[in-house]
Symmetry: none
Subunit: 323 residues, 3 copies
């Protein structure tokens, strides 16, 4: 679809969250279609995980985003979808790859939302495809267990924070879940959650460096817990790490099913977003260093540095492989 | 994309206006892309006309609408686009053709919005295609001249109207044109206008028969006059004719460029929408007859009857041809 | 959240209605949460009244609006919430207080929408707080009785009105209530209604003075009657008074539950909005005087003048007290 002014920041760059929402919708359509392609229980595919995603180039107002999706692996209870986004300037005809994302969906029964139904297997063109898919499946399974551990943290507001400290830029946003945010099962679309997460992360980044910022990447996101229609969700973000030219922001989503007394507020999702600061000509700018004060902040900074160096190393390995 | 609760009425049927808006966006993308495909002045395709469109079957919440567009004819200054909409129930895999629409676009220069640029010719697979296209082009040109005549009418409100009279159901809506309603040239997307027109027509129809109603068809719509960002538009609808099972509603769009004082309020678009009333099981229901009071209302009723009988005759001729 | 182009007028000032909607959402969340905090019937807080609200400074596109809410008084069946809005320019770090609003909510049972449930009492830091709250509670109760009286008026359209007359700028808008406009109980959010009211009032003001206008204040609004999902609402506005630099607009909301035939069209809400006209530099401009023609228009002008002088006197008293 054509990108509109509301999809973009004041510099005309489309918010990463809008792209993430389109990616997730395409993934949900193709995987729900596949899971209902054989006789069996009607079901809706729910997003379980998005692999680390890089934003290769910013999209601008007036460009058309072309989204294509393909199922690349199926296990007994999950579907892996590869989604590619191309942005096209229909005036010049120029096309650019914007994103390549990998998403995992789990089909939930339309009658009983707690029941995972079986996924019809796909045909692979080559045998290695199945093996590689299985490997990716095992890897993400392990990784999902790990992230479940780090879920207890909370963000406290700081009074009169100094510029460039963690407390200075941290932000949170509340959203009341409406009907159009939800799937047929009455739970929030993963894409809606990611769009809100990107919005908060973007505010944190802009508060820190006070320039035009764009989403550079999102690390893997696991959707542990469904969020029901009518819940209030609180999305909080804080900066964890800065390199010379990038900022890492941790974002939490807490859901409060506040009318339905049976349940306490719970952590539904958490993720790391990386942002870069751009000049008016679209060139990356240096980023002010994050000032860490508490022990926890220093620890998180080191952890962020670890992730940053790991990603950098991986990318260099890929480049060398490609060369 | 997946149809949401916000796209539909309380019975779960997606508003015809949402479909029209998707159709127009697809047409605008393909024709803008085509007109910029050769070296020449950058331009944006503006909707000039939509041919009569039938809504073959209602679309429901949770279904996916697949929109495909193809350029079928080019004249020196205009592009004909054929857009097809299929609705797909991704749970059952059932697909239905929802719409087949024909739209005419005119490329306007990005630098000078009053200049129409030249359209690169397309290649035809068979020679007859070009001749048939030319015939359609000449026909719509004639038809556009004709509708320009009937543009002076205004809707006056009636105090304490009786049920089922014209005054009882007539309705109007104002809308302030925002940035997301507009193309790169700063003029309202034809699809946005059609969505608002369908909204008003639907309220007129529902007020008349007080049941669940759906758009059955829209006659040809000509976009004589552009509408600028920041204008206030008034969309007014009144019922003109009822058959046993359908209602015809005339809709006017008046634009008020109230920031730019140089220009008076003007009639931008007008069209006839046909609605049917559906039972809870989705079967067409009888419609209360429209009570006409003034001479003008009686004349418009007869004109509506003429259009109704003509359409009916055409459809039967097509059925016989097909048989 | 970040203010987007669609939230603002062509001069980049965010519509007062967008702010009112955010205020109401924050109030609804905090009071619903409070009313469900003890064992008891699950309930949803419905907006009963908003006290007079001043817009202290305009908010612009790209700024972040920070909304904070606090419960300041509870009676047996109602909750008083104080909501503050700060706008923050995240590029410069500049913050301004935009609004301080006081809202009253009543908790309605989720099972039986006609039943008001009991509100758990809050703890007061000082005893005087409870007494002051009680005084405010009694005052607004009296005021609500009063406004119920003036509810019968209707707006009739005028043919070919002269510039600056009441008929020239009066406007009305219809809106079909969709699922996203409603609470869990299926009734329109008070904030959605206020946003539409501000939209109509803004169009009336802009038609009158043909410049960039912004909301300066809203008088107390009482929500007498709930509006059900699927209703058509008509929002009408007419100018009642102009001072040198401000315009007062009266806005009515009429609901037409047209699917549910048991009920006639009824007046759901009414209120007075005050607008000012701004130059390109953001300075207040003189406003053309309203031309009154009928006896009713002259009477309403005098009443408006009374409200204007009263507000002015109150404000001066507050300034003197503060000095």
């Amino acid at each position: 679809r054509i990108m509109r002014p509301d999809d973009a920041n004041f510099a005309g760059n489309v918010h990463g969250g809008i792209i993430l929402k389109m990616i997730e919708e395409a993934g949900a359509i193709i995987s729900t279609r596949h899971c209902n392609s054989q006789d069996g229980e009607p079901c809706v595919a729910a997003l379980a995980r998005v692999e680390r995603t890089d934003f290769l180039s910013p999209v601008c107002i007036g460009e058309v985003a072309n989204v294509s999706a393909e199922i690349t692996y199926t296990s007994r209870h999950s579907v892996e979808v590869q989604v590619n986004v191309m942005s096209e300037n229909i005036l010049t005809g120029a096309k650019k790859v914007t994103n390549k994302a990998t998403l995992w969906y789990v089909p939930l029964s339309l009658k009983n939302v707690n029941k995972v139904v079986e996924v019809p297997p796909i045909q692979y063109a080559r045998k290695e495809q199945e093996e590689e898919g299985k490997k990716r499946y095992e890897e993400q399974k392990l990784d999902r267990l790990e992230t479940k551990q780090r879920n207890g943290d909370v963000i406290f507001p700081i009074i009169n924070p100094e510029p460039h400290t963690v407390g200075y830029s941290q932000s949170s946003l509340i959203h009341l879940v409406g009907p159009s945010d939800c799937t047929l099962l009455g739970f929030v679309h993963g894409g809606v959650t990611m769009k809100l997460m990107d919005e908060v992360a973007g505010i944190v980044a802009a508060r820190h460096c006070k320039t035009n910022i764009v989403t550079a990447s999102v690390d893997a996101i696991n959707f542990h817990e469904k969020i029901k229609k009518g819940s209030v969700i609180t999305i909080s973000g804080r900066m964890t790490f800065t390199s010379n030219k990038s900022m890492e922001i941790e974002v939490f989503v807490d859901a409060d099913p506040f009318v339905d007394e049976a349940r306490e507020r719970y952590r539904a999702v958490s993720a790391f977003f990386t942002y870069v600061s751009l000049s008016k000509e679209g060139k990356p700018l240096p980023v002010p260093q994050l000032l860490t004060e508490t022990e926890d902040e220093k620890r998180r900074f080191e952890e962020g540095k670890g992730r940053y160096l790991q990603t950098k190393a991986k990318r260099q390995a890929q480049l060398q492989q490609a060369a």
